[in-house]
C-alpha cells in the first residue's frame, strides 16, 4: 500500500532519476510502469485496439440491418446458427457488447486514462501523479475488466452473450430465465463493469489529488489549461457518480446470484420458470443506472471539450475566447449533470411530476453547452488558423457537437421524447456526441500530443485523409439515422423490416452500412499512421506546434520525472499573439517564460521553489 504513504517527494527526484535508469528493467519500465506517461500510452494503445474491436462489432450490427439474415462475409462462418447468419440472440449481444466496449473500454479510458494520465502531470508541471502505484493499478484493473467482457462472449457459446443492452435493465438482466442464453454471460458482464468502475475510481482520486496538490509554483487555478479543468471536473463526476453504479451493480449481481430481490417484483413468471418472490422495483435500477450514466456521458465529453479548447487556441494562434466562462460552464454542466438523469426515463412510468423537473433541468444543461460552442467559434474568429489535421478534427468536433446537442433538445422536450424514445433518433443523437464530438476531439488530441509522447510527428496528409473519410463516413452513417428515428424505427431491432411501416427503410439502412464501412476503413488509416509514426515519423523538438503549455517546455518525449528544470508558471495558458510574445518575436509564449523584469531572478526563484 505504497499509495497511502505521503508523496511529498515531488520536485526532489534528481537523485532518484540518476539511478532509476540503471536499475529499472524492461518490464518495470514499459509494462508494470508507474510512470504516468507510460501508463498513458498503455491506455492509449489498449483503447485504440478496443476501438477496433468495438467498431468490428458495430459493423456486424450494421451488416444485419442492411442484409438481414444473410451470412456475413469472412467471419460469418464462425457464428453458430443456421448457415452462419446472425441469430436474433446474437444480434442483441452484438449491440450490447458494441456499446459496452465502446463506452467502458474505449471512450472513458481513452479520455481519462490515456490523456488524463499523460497530460495532467505535464500540464501542471508535476513530475508524476500523486499516487504512481495506484495509477499503475488503475491501468491493470482494465485487464480483468476486458477479460470478463470478453469471457462473456464465450461462456455460453458464441451466440449467448449478455443480452440486455448496455443499460441492462432488469428484469431482462436480473432473471436468468429471461434471456436464456445469457446466464453466466450477464454475470460476467457485471463483473467486468465492476472492474472498470474500480479502475476509473482509482484514476479519479489520483487525478483530483494531483491537480489539487501538485501544481508547479505559479500554476494558480485560473492559469490551468482548460484540459486540466476538464479533467478535474471529470474526475469529480467520476468519483461521486460511479460509486452509485458500482453499488447498483452489486445489487444486480446479488439478484442474479444470491436470490435477493432489489429489482424483482413478486409473482413474475418468465419463460415458465417458478414465480418470483420478493417485492423489489425494476425502476430502481434505472434510477441508479442513470444517476451514474448521465454524468458519465459528460465524463465522455468534458475532457474532449477541454482538449479541443487547448488545441483550437493553439491552432488559431489566439487566446481562448472567454476562458473563465469556459470554466464556469464546464462546472455548470457537471453540476446540472447530476440532476437530469430522469430524461432517460420519461416514458418509464415514473412519477410524471418528476418528468417535468427533469425536463426543465435538461433544457438548462444546454445553456452552458451553448456558451462553450459560441466560445469555440469566437476562438477561431479573427485567428490565424493553421489548417492542419488537428484543426480540422477540432472544427469537426464543434460542428458535430452542435448536431448532437441540438438533437438532444428534441428529446429533452418530454412530449416529443414520448415519440422519439428508443428510436434511431436517440441512436443518431448519441453517436453524434460520442463519435462525432468526442472521437473527433480524440483524433485531434492524438495528433497534437503525439510528438510529446514519442518525439515524432504523425503524417499530416494521412491524418487529413483520415479526417475527411471519417467525417464523410460518419455523417453518411449517422445523419440519416435521425430520419429513421422520425419514421419511428425502434432501436435494438434485429429485423425492423418485419413491420410494414418500416419496410421501405432497407435501402436507407444499406446506405448507412456502406458509410459505416467507409468510416471503418478510415480508422485503419489512423492506426497505420499511428504505428508508422512511432518508428518512422519526422523527429521533432520540444515544441513543434509553438504552443504555450508547460508540457511543451519538457523534452519530447519527457524523461523520467518529466522536466529537466522544475517549471515555474508565470502566466495563463493561452497568451498566443500577446504583446509579450511579440516582443520575443514569436506568436506564442510558454507559460514558463518569466516576464522580462523577472528574468534575472528566475533562476533563484526556481531554485527556491524546489526547496
Amino acid at each position: 500500500m505504497a499509495t497511502v504513504s505521503p508523496a511529498i517527494e515531488s520536485h526532489s527526484d534528481d537523485h532518484a532519476q540518476g539511478h532509476d535508469h540503471h536499475e529499472i528493467g524492461f518490464i518495470q519500465k514499459y509494462v508494470f510502469s508507474t510512470d504516468h506517461k507510460v501508463i498513458g500510452v498503455q491506455f492509449l494503445a489498449t483503447t485504440l485496439i478496443m476501438l477496433m474491436a468495438g467498431g468490428a462489432l458495430a459493423l456486424a450490427v450494421r451488416w444485419q440491418l442492411a442484409f438481414p439474415w444473410q451470412t456475413m462475409p469472412i467471419v460469418g462462418k464462425l457464428f453458430a446458427g443456421e448457415g452462419g447468419q446472425i441469430s436474433p440472440e446474437f444480434y442483441t449481444m452484438l449491440f450490447t457488447m458494441h456499446a459496452s466496449v465502446m463506452i467502458f473500454l474505449v471512450i472513458i479510458p481513452i479520455l481519462a486514462g490515456a490523456f488524463g494520465n499523460f497530460l495532467i502531470p505535464l500540464q501542471i508541471g508535476a513530475d508524476d501523479m500523486a499516487f504512481p502505484v495506484l495509477n499503475m493499478l488503475s491501468y491493470w484493473f482494465m485487464w480483468p475488466a476486458m477479460f470478463f467482457f470478453f469471457a462473456s462472449f464465450v461462456v455460453g457459446g458464441v451466440t449467448a452473450g449478455p443480452a440486455a443492452g448496455w443499460t441492462s435493465y432488469p428484469l431482462l438482466s436480473a432473471l436468468t430465465a429471461a434471456a436464456p442464453g445469457s446466464g453466466a454471460a450477464q454475470t460476467y458482464w457485471l463483473l467486468g463493469l465492476t472492474f472498470v468502475g474500480v479502475s476509473s475510481m482509482m484514476g479519479s482520486i489520483n487525478y483530483m489529488t494531483t491537480i489539487i496538490n501538485m501544481r508547479a509554483p505559479g500554476m494558480t487555478l485560473f492559469r490551468m489549461p482548460l484540459t486540466i479543468w476538464s479533467m478535474f471536473i471529470t474526475a469529480i463526476l467520476q468519483a461521486f457518480a460511479l460509486p452509485v453504479l458500482t453499488a447498483a451493480g452489486f445489487m444486480l449481481l446479488a439478484d442474479r446470484t444470491m436470490g435477493t430481490c432489489f429489482f424483482v417484483p413478486a409473482g413474475i413468471i418468465v419463460n415458465n420458470a417458478a414465480p418470483t418472490v420478493g417485492g423489489g422495483q425494476p425502476l430502481l435500477w434505472q434510477h441508479l443506472f442513470w444517476f451514474y450514466s448521465h454524468p458519465a456521458v459528460y465524463i465522455m465529453l468534458l475532457p474532449a471539450m477541454g482538449m479541443v479548447s487547448d488545441m483550437l487556441s493553439c491552432m488559431c494562434r489566439k487566446p481562448v475566447f472567454g476562458y473563465k466562462p469556459m470554466v464556469y460552464s464546464m462546472s455548470a454542466i457537471a453540476g446540472l449533470g447530476f440532476i437530469v438523469w430522469g430524461h432517460h426515463m420519461f416514458t418509464s412510468g415514473m412519477n410524471p411530476a418528476l418528468g417535468m423537473t427533469f425536463m426543465t433541468s435538461t433544457m438548462m444543461i444546454a445553456l452552458p453547452s451553448a456558451i462553450k460552442t459560441f466560445n469555440w467559434i469566437g476562438t477561431i474568429w479573427g485567428g490565424n488558423v493553421r489548417f492542419n489535421s488537428v484543426m480540422l478534427n477540432c472544427s469537426g468536433f464543434v460542428a458535430m457537437f452542435i448536431v448532437g446537442g441540438l438533437s438532444g433538445i428534441f428529446m429533452a422536450a418530454v412530449p416529443v421524447d414520448i415519440y422519439f424514445h428508443d428510436t434511431y433518433f436517440i441512436v443518431a443523437h448519441f453517436h453524434y456526441v460520442l463519435f462525432g464530438s468526442t472521437l473527433f476531439g480524440v483524433f485531434a488530441a492524438i495528433t497534437f500530443w503525439f510528438p510529446k509522447m514519442f518525439g515524432r510527428m504523425m503524417n499530416d496528409t494521412v491524418a487529413k485523409w483520415h479526417f475527411v473519410l471519417s467525417f464523410i463516413g460518419f455523417n453518411g452513417a449517422f445523419f440519416p439515422m435521425h430520419l429513421l428515428g422520425i419514421v419511428g424505427m425502434p432501436r435494438r431491432y434485429a429485423d425492423p423490416y418485419l413491420h410494414p411501416y418500416l419496410e421501405h427503410l432497407l435501402p436507407m439502412n444499406q446506405f448507412i452500412t456502406c458509410s459505416a464501412i467507409l468510416m471503418g476503413f478510415a480508422q485503419i488509416l489512423l492506426l497505420g499512421n499511428f504505428a508508422y509514426s512511432i518508428f518512422f515519423g519526422k523527429k521533432c523538438g520540444r515544441n513543434p506546434w509553438g504552443a504555450n503549455g508547460l508540457e511543451w517546455s519538457a523534452p519530447s518525449p519527457p524523461g523520467h520525472g518529466n522536466f529537466d528544470v522544475p517549471p515555474v508558471c508565470y502566466r495563463g495558458p493561452y497568451e498566443y499573439s500577446s504583446p509579450e510574445a511579440e516582443a520575443l518575436g514569436q506568436d506564442f509564449i510558454l507559460q514558463t517564460e518569466p516576464p522580462p523584469d523577472m528574468k534575472k531572478t528566475a533562476e533563484t526563484e526556481s531554485a527556491e521553489a524546489t526547496a
Binding site: 413474475i268 416514458t347 467559434i377 416529443v416
Partner: protein
Amino acid sequence: MKKFWALFFFFWPVVAIWSCWVAPARGWWFPTEAMSPLGERIDGLFYLILGIVTVVFIGTQFALGYVLWQSAVKGDDEKAEFSHGSHSLELIWTVVPSFVLVFIALYQMDVWAEFRVQSFYPNQTQEDGPRLELTARQFEWRVRYPEPGTELKNQPQPGDLYAVNEMHVATGRPVKFNLRTDDVQHAFFAPELRVKQDAVAGLIIPVWFEIPKAGDYDVVCAELCGWGHYKMRATIVAEPQRQVDEYLSNLQSEQNFDGVVTVDDEDE
C-alpha cells in the same frame, strides 16, 4: 487548400439540410400524420423545435464556416487578433438561448400533463374507466376486456374476454387502458398515434389515446425485452363503438362456445 477546408465546413450543413428537405417526399418522415389529437400537438411541438433548431443549426454552422473562411483568405503571416473574449457577447449568448430554452420548457408542459398526469386526462376517460387491459409478454401482446356491461378489474374475472395481438377500440372518444407486463419490461409504441409507454413489471400504468378515424394502427415494442423484441407486433383496430360491441359479443360467444351446438345458442 485552406479555402477548400473552409468551404468543406460550409458544404456539409447544406447537404444535411437538403437531405432533411427531400426526406418527407421519400417516406423518410413520420409514418403518417398524427392520427390522434394529442399526437397532432406533439407534432406541432416537434415542428416548433425543428424550426428553432434549424435556425440555430444554420446560424452556428455557418458562423463556424465563416470564421474559418475569414482566416483562410487572410495572408499566412497576418497576425491573429489578441483578445480574451467579450463580456457583452458572452452575456448575449447566455441570455438569448436561455429565453429560448425556458420558452420550450414551459410551452410543452401541458401536453405532457395531458399525456401522463391522470388528473389532466380527458373527463371522458375518468367516467369510462379503463376499457381494457393490455399485457405484454415475451413476445406478444395479450388483451383482456371486461365482460360486456361490467367494469375492468385488476384481477382477472371469470367473464373476461381475451385476445392476442389485436385490440379493438372505439373511434372518436378518448380511450383509456391499463398497461402491464407479465415478465420483463416492454414498451407500448403506436407510431401513428405518437404514443409510447413502458410496461413495467409490478406496475399497472393507465394510458390513453383518442383515434378520430377508423382503421388499423400498428403497435410495436420499444423496450428491449429479449431476443424476440423486434417481432412483438399488434394492431389497434379503431372502429365505431357499435362495431366494438359487436366484436366483443362475438368474442364472448366464441369464448363461451363449449363445442356443443344447440338451438338455443343460435338464437342468441
